[in-house]
């Protein structure tokens, strides 16, 4: 008796051989960049360079160029730091957690998602440093190193210090995990190389990978272990970032909901950014048969799920502010929705809670232009979420005499854009220099070619 079953969508479409996979994935690496790539790359590079020039001048002249003031001592820099850290969550989630849960659809997207993670964490890493008044000290005074100043130790009670550890650990583990995953593919690229210099570089990068059974066996164990190590980090990093706020006594910050709320938000924004990037990448590098509409569909499901989580968090915050009976909490939340920053608050609600609701419908989940627009909306919304949290609470805290209205300065806009420039520059370079799709893993989930003769897709 045949059981009617839901037919699973193929993870790789078209009839492909293993050679096709290698050829198609390596194509961008082995051909001269297209005009389109150059245009986007040079634009990103320009934005990045000008952003860094502005940072340089800020370090020279003073943090005052930013819009920060009293009482809003944290502004664009911390907002954008949290934003990028959040973006960085999707990569590890896709590569580690989905790997452990054996979600095979991750294989096509994990490489670029992880790359994105690393670049996002790099972008994020710039901000805590340059937002300080004296970056020339903060880059090493925040580490507990033996010194002749007393010796003077760091303050282990400060969440900012926890941040230093959390973010640096996260970056290290993510980078190692990503690189480990890359090794077999780099070896493939090496083997295909014609140019001796290229060959030399990829030979070094591939760490002597030969593709032996022993190699594969060790490799897969290492990958499992790294996935296991990365998994708690997905939860811990943003939890600790949220402690920057939760451990303070500022109304709207001092709340226990922050860790799960921040993690959900981070995954939400991370997936949105992955969707944004993949929609472009599959178009530009002609990878539509690897990064299928089915992949995007799955990700949109996660976006709507995490979007609902974030919406729930927003609602819970309001409820608890009222339920706690603390007048300061109540005031802040009323201020958020109805006060001077209501425009930011409602931007956030529109982008984060309302816009993902379209993804309840399958046809809309598979609508490329719509998902592209919505993913950008979600990213805007998530930036504003951090804006709302950071700014509104500081601007109207305890003593009304200090209240003030915060505006971003032109420098803030420049540096914010610059971080996007940096992110896209790195991503575009990545697309040209490393295989954007994990060839080894994709080959593993393709139908067994030996059985089908390699010509017919089963």
């Amino acid at each position: 008796m045949s059981v009617p079953a839901l037919k699973e969508e193929a993870l790789v479409q078209g009839t492909k051989t293993y050679a096709d996979v290698s050829n198609e994935v390596c194509l961008p690496l082995e051909s001269f960049p297209t005009k389109k790539w150059w245009v986007v790359f040079l634009l990103s590079l320009t934005v990045m360079t000008s952003g860094f020039a502005m940072i340089g001048y800020m370090i020279y002249a003073g943090t005052g160029l930013s819009g920060i003031q009293q009482p809003v001592g944290w502004g664009m820099m911390i907002i954008t730091f949290v934003f990028w850290i959040g973006i960085g969550h999707a990569g590890t989630l896709i590569s580690a957690i989905l790997f452990l849960f054996r979600q095979k659809w991750r294989t096509a997207i994990n490489r670029s998602a992880e790359a994105m993670t690393i670049f996002a964490v790099m972008c994020a890493g710039v901000f805590p440093l340059i937002h300080t008044g004296r970056p020339w000290y903060s880059f090493y005074w925040l580490f507990p190193y033996p010194n002749t100043m007393g010796p003077l130790w760091v303050n282990f009670r400060s969440p900012l210090l926890w941040d230093v550890f959390a973010v640096s650990t996260y970056f290290t583990i993510s980078a190692v995990f990503w690189y480990t995953g890359l090794v077999p593919d780099i070896a493939t690229v090496r083997d295909r190389c014609v140019n001796p210099i290229r060959k030399k570089i990829y030979t070094i990068l591939s760490l002597g990978w030969r593709g032996s059974s022993r190699g594969w066996s060790h490799y897969e164990i290492a990958y499992w272990i790294l996935a296991g190590l990365s998994t708690p980090l997905v939860l811990s990093v943003h939890t600790i970032v949220s402690f920057d706020f939760a451990v303070s006594i500022i109304p709207g910050w001092h709340t226990t909901i922050f860790p799960p709320y921040f993690v959900a938000g981070a995954i939400f924004s991370g997936f949105a950014m992955v969707v944004t990037l993949l929609v472009i990448a599959r178009e530009v590098f002609n990878l539509k048969e690897y990064i299928t509409i089915g992949h995007l569909d799955s990700m949109n499901k996660i976006i709507v799920a995490t979007g609902m989580l974030v919406g729930l968090a927003y609602g819970t915050e309001f409820f608890i502010a009222w339920y706690s009976g603390v007048p300061y909490e109540r005031f802040i939340f009323v201020q958020r929705a109805l006060g001077p920053y209501a425009w930011a608050y409602w931007t956030m609600i529109t982008c984060n809670v309302i816009s993902p609701q379209f993804f309840w419908f399958k046809s809309l989940r598979r609508n490329i232009p719509l998902m592209f627009v919505l993913s950008i909306f979600v990213n805007i919304g998530m930036w504003f979420e951090r804006f709302v949290i950071v700014v509104t609470s500081l601007a109207n805290d305890y003593l009304p005499s200090s209240w003030n209205y915060f505006r971003l300065s032109l420098w803030d806009y420049g540096v914010l854009l610059g971080s996007f420039g940096m992110f896209f520059t790195l991503f575009l370079l990545f697309c040209r220099l490393l295989p954007t799709i994990s060839m080894a893993e994709v080959k593993a989930i393709m139908p067994d070619q030996s059985k089908t003769g390699g010509h017919h897709h089963g």
Binding site: A61, G62, T63, G64, G67, I68, Q69, Q70, P71, V72, G73, W74, H131, T132, G133, R134, P135, Y137, S138, W141, L142, M149, L152, W153, V154, N155, R157, S158, P159, L160, L161, V164, D244, V247, S248, I249, I250, G325, V326, P327, F331, L394, D397, Y398, L399, P400, S401, S402, W403, N404, Y405
Partner: protein, 1017 residues
């Protein structure tokens, strides 16, 4: 015995035995080191042989650039680059004293008593010969340790890079000249002047010596002395003159008054001798000292002043109503029933306090003299003359014997004036209505003695650089019989002279330079009439204590009250204008003389918190009529405000609008003292000069009550303010507790009633912290504080706090460690309901300091004596501490603010000499905040430790506390239960700001208690 000692012992023994050996062997060798003796001969020989064994490289070897050499060079240059990068500031050489002055210890401050320019007794703190701080002299019988913001800020006047440094000649081109040259020419002009052709124009001189020198000068040259009095109590002299023929200003003994009624007299801010007024007024507000017979203040005023904020009952009236209010009070006191409820309560209170009340009136409103006549009459009807209104020891204004300035202008125009000597006033700027400009050209020789190149000076023939009060001898008599000698603490920094020196010099036949100290001494030798030996003792005592008393020149003016009634009856009641102008003296800017003083410009206006400009203040209702946005206490201040043009008598002034609740409707108020055109880099073109709106008719100056036409220009202008939100948002219980006297007497905790006593859950520890030695704390009495902000400027000068300028303030980046928060209550659209309260806010030095836990680098930590300390060097500037501070008292150096002034001024010398060497200058990128003047605490602890004692209560005063004329601040050791601060903190009514957060501040506040009378109305 330690190892080192062991070794030493062994060596010593070895040495001894060797010596014995040598002596016994008879071959005594000389030894150089211990090892010579202890080591064996072989070892020694080996060592010696190696001493010069090292091969020196041959010349060509050294020049060969081998690998080793290359690496050495690389390393060295790398290290050099690193070292060059490490060097942050050039090394300046300190030059020690070659001959150390007697009694001076390097690094220990010396204190000298003196008198400030306005006669307030000061103590001047000097370090290594440089005055670095002015403090109130507690031994001064009148000002009793209080010091006003102006005198505090005048430290910068002394070191201002844009001070006049040499005498100059004016004309088409300013030229430096020498005193000798100037003296010769001025003397020539004086000698050649026709009879009556020499004139002096001054502000009020309260210096007995100067007045006697001027008298001599006038006799010598048959000169005439004119006074230009723009102060808001000027009309009192005219009024007493009208009634008695004697120009005399009584001393108002606020400390004796149970009820005070002020009609437009801002006696706590700008009217009369404000330090004296504040001192005596606040003496009767010390509820916490068990005094329940506190005074009760009724204020009738057109705009908002500190006096209005201190009032128990405040009524907004327009300037044209002043006289009718006083007439109604007179009628009420005489027995008729007052119809006006506003007046009725005041009448009731006044009648109950006969002989123990004061009525003061002020301003240059319409009928200013009649208003003063009415106030005098009222005081006389209440039997206050002789008790609270004191003519026995009158105040000295310096205008008692001066001739009218209007006569001077007339004479100048008539060509009767050959030489005009101006000092202390700037008529070209402050009195445009006198039309000096045209008259000046008719005077051949105009001599201006001034410390800055002001509007009058640049039009003068001689511009003579004046010394600062800390640089020259002098004296003052603030109240008849109360004398203070002004002693210099530094040689004149530049080629300057005091005005008295100038006049005395020109009085000598050949203009030989005068030793002004001798002049002052001679005056007092004559005046105190003791023998020479006795005088020397008197003089030294005088300099030590800083103030003394002599017999007051008692004035007993015989008032003709019939004339008073006649004057009042013949003055018709004024019709209210649609829109009336009020030009008021700004508490910060005064007459504009300190316009170039960065501290006074930076200091926010106490009421509106706007700095670096003046503005047009209107009530919310009037504002709406003029098309301004509707304002509440929540959104009073905006960084860019609509510009209004105000036209009075054909003259127009354009300034940003400020909607100020509490101002009388249909009044537009503008501060004087701004809009200088020649005040130096900082003071020029800041705001607009509103005195062009004044009118001057029949010798009477009128600054308020004229009809004004106001319209929006459509433009916007920057309005930098340090506070933008003035509403407590229902947080009274947590932030600022207030109550009435009647409720307080029933229940000392009355101010706490109605608040939520819910203790919030806290993540901070509930354990009591133990501070073994001291635990420093402060208590601030909101009932005494008048909002004068002298404490704020005192803090700036003591702690080298940076001035940041208007743009930065507009961003919300002012640097004041201590600020005066102001909160309103009432209905902003109904001026009579508006009440306001000050709350000085500074670092609360919390036991559970939220700032400390969040700093990642431990730059802010708690000290063992209960201070929240800042390690500037360690701070990297994350600003997390400031974010987490619920009091928002931390200030961040967003730029290199300590250089801000110098950059703006271009030249800096001698400004760096002003800095307090005991307080670090903060660099950019770091956080700073109130330290409870830790440098003072440390010095006091050291001093007492040397004597083997514990720091006595009251022995150490913070800069803010020292300056406070109202004695609103107590500071001391909370570990000592007997200390003043402990006792205040333990009062039932004492509260701590945001106590619910469990931050455990060490600053306690005593609530504002309004005396609304026995029955709640």
């Amino acid at each position: 015995m330690s190892t080192a000692e062991n070794d030493l012992q062994k060596n010593w023994e070895a040495l001894r035995s060797a010596q014995h050996k040598e002596l016994s062997e008879g071959s005594r060798t000389l030894w150089r080191t211990l090892s010579d003796v202890t080591s064996s001969k072989e070892d020694l020989a080996a060592e010696r042989s190696q001493e010069f064994s090292h091969q020196l490289p041959a010349e060509e070897d050294a020049q060969r650039f081998n690998r080793r050499r290359f690496l050495q060079m690389m390393g060295a240059s790398g290290a050099l680059i690193g070292a060059a990068g490490c060097q942050r500031r050039p090394v300046d050489h300190l030059v020690p004293y070659v001959h150390k002055p007697e009694g001076l210890t390097y690094g220990t401050p010396m204190w000298y008593s003196s008198s400030a320019a306005n006669g307030v007794g000061v103590l001047i703190k000097t370090r290594e010969g440089k005055p670095i701080k002015f403090e109130g002299n507690p031994d001064h019988p009148v000002t009793q340790g209080g010091l006003d913001a102006h005198s505090q800020a005048s430290l910068l006047d002394l070191y201002h890079p844009e001070r006049l440094k040499t005498p100059m000649t004016g004309g088409a081109e300013l030229k430096e000249t020498s005193w000798r040259e100037a003296d010769t020419q001025i003397l020539q002009a004086l000698k050649n002047a026709k009879p009556g052709g020499v004139r002096l124009l001054t502000g009020g001189s309260i210096s007995p010596t100067l007045n006697s020198v001027i008298q001599d000068f006038m006799t010598t040259y048959r000169a005439k002395h004119h006074g230009l009095n723009t102060s808001s109590d000027a009309a009192i002299l005219a009024a007493t003159d009208r009634l008695s023929g004697q120009r005399v200003r009584p001393t108002y003994r606020f400390e004796r008054a149970d009820v005070i009624v002020s009609v437009d007299a801002d006696f706590l801010g700008t009217w009369g001798s404000t330090v004296e007024n504040t001192k005596s007024f606040s003496k009767r507000r010390k509820i916490h000292q068990g005094d329940t017979n506190v005074n009760r203040l009724f204020v009738f005023e057109s705009w908002m002043t500190n006096t209005g904020i201190a009032a128990d009952h405040r009524f907004a009236i327009s300037p044209t109503q002043q006289l009718s209010v006083l007439k109604a009070l007179i009628a009420g006191v005489q027995g008729s029933t007052a119809a006006d409820p506003m007046v009725a309560e005041a009448v009731r209170a006044l009648r109950a306090a006969r002989g123990k009340s004061i009525v003061v009136a002020g301003g240059h409103g319409p009928d200013a003299i009649e208003v003063q006549v009415a106030a005098l009459l009222l005081n006389s009807l209440l039997g206050n003359l002789g008790s609270t209104v004191d003519f026995d020891t009158p105040s000295i204004t310096g205008f008692e014997n001066t001739a009218d300035v209007a006569d001077l202008v007339a004479d100048m125009n008539a060509g009767k004036v050959d030489v005009l000597i101006i000092h202390g006033v700037n008529p070209m700027y402050s009195a445009p209505y006198l039309k000096f400009e045209a008259a000046f050209s008719k005077v051949p020789t105009v001599v201006t003695v001034t410390s800055d190149l002001n509007e009058t000076a640049i039009n003068s023939k001689f511009i003579l650089a004046e010394s600062h009060f800390a640089e020259c001898w002098g004296d003052s008599e603030i109240r008849s019989g109360v004398i203070s000698i002004q002693q210099p603490v530094i040689e004149p920094i530049f080629q300057t002279r005091s005005f008295g020196e100038c006049i005395a010099t020109w009085t000598t036949p050949t203009a030989v330079a005068i030793d002004y100290r001798e002049v002052v001494q001679n005056y007092w030798r004559r005046s105190v009439a003791s023998g020479v030996a006795g005088f020397d003792n008197w003089w030294m005592d005088q300099l030590k204590v800083g103030a003394t008393k002599r017999a007051a020149s008692k004035k007993s003016p015989a008032f003709r009250w019939a004339a008073a009634n006649e004057i009042l009856n013949s003055t018709k009641a004024r019709a209210k204008e649609d829109l009336e102008i009020v030009l008021y003296t700004s508490p910060n800017m005064g007459d504009g003389a300190q316009a170039n003083n960065a501290y006074m410009q930076e200091l926010p206006d106490p009421i509106t918190k706007v700095s670096w400009t003046n503005f047009v203040a209107v009530s919310p209702a009037t504002g709406e009529k003029l098309g301004l946005e509707r304002k509440t206490f929540q959104n009073m201040s905006e960084s860019h405000a609509s510009v209004l043009s105000v036209k009075v008598n054909g003259a127009t002034v354009e300034l940003p609008a400020f909607v100020q609740p509490g101002i009388a409707d249909n009044v537009v108020a503008i501060a004087l003292g701004y809009g200088r055109t020649s005040a130096g880099t900082l003071g020029t073109k800041v705001g607009a000069n509103a005195s062009i709106l004044a009118s001057f008719e029949k010798g009477r100056l009128q600054l308020s009550g004229q009809r004004a036409e106001v319209k929006k220009t459509g433009g916007k202008a920057l309005l930098a303010s340090t506070q933008k939100h003035f509403d407590l948002e229902g947080r009274d219980y947590d932030i600022l507790q207030t109550t009435t006297l009647a409720s307080f007497l029933k229940n000392p905790k009355a101010a706490k009633e109605g608040g939520h006593a819910v203790k919030l859950m806290s993540m901070y520890s509930d354990k009591e912290f133990v501070y073994p030695e001291h635990k420093w704390g402060m208590a601030i009495d909101l009932n005494s504080c008048t909002g004068c902000q002298a404490c704020v400027v005192a803090c700036y000068t003591e702690n080298n706090v940076s001035v940041v300028g208007a743009e930065e303030i507009a961003m919300g980046r002012h640097m004041a460690w201590l600020r005066l928060d102001l909160y309103y209550s009432g209905d902003p659209s109904k001026p009579e309901t508006v009440e306001a309260n000050y709350e000085p806010m500074l670092c609360q030095h919390c036991d559970n300091a939220p700032c400390e836990t969040v700093c990642p680098v431990l730059a802010t930590v708690h000290s063992t004596d209960g201070l929240n300390a800042m390690a500037y060097n360690r701070c990297v500037g994350t600003r997390y501490c400031s974010n987490n501070c619920p009091y928002k008292v931390r200030r961040f150096n967003f730029f290199q603010y300590s250089d801000q002034l110098a950059r703006k001024l271009d030249i800096t010398d001698p400004m760096p000499m002003m800095a307090n060497p005991e307080v670090t200058i903060r660099t950019r990128g770091i956080m700073e905040k109130c330290t409870f003047c830790v440098q003072r605490l440390q010095r006091a602890k050291d001093d007492f430790k040397d004597r083997g004692l514990r720091v006595a209560d009251g022995a150490v005063k913070t800069a803010c506390q020292q300056s406070c004329a109202a004695d609103a601040i107590a500071f001391g050791d909370l570990n000592d239960p007997k200390s003043e601060v402990s006792q205040l903190a333990a009062k039932a009514q004492a509260f701590k700001v945001l106590d619910v957060l469990n931050t455990r501040p060490n600053v306690s506040y005593l609530p504002r208690i309004r005396n609304k009378g026995a029955v709640e109305s």
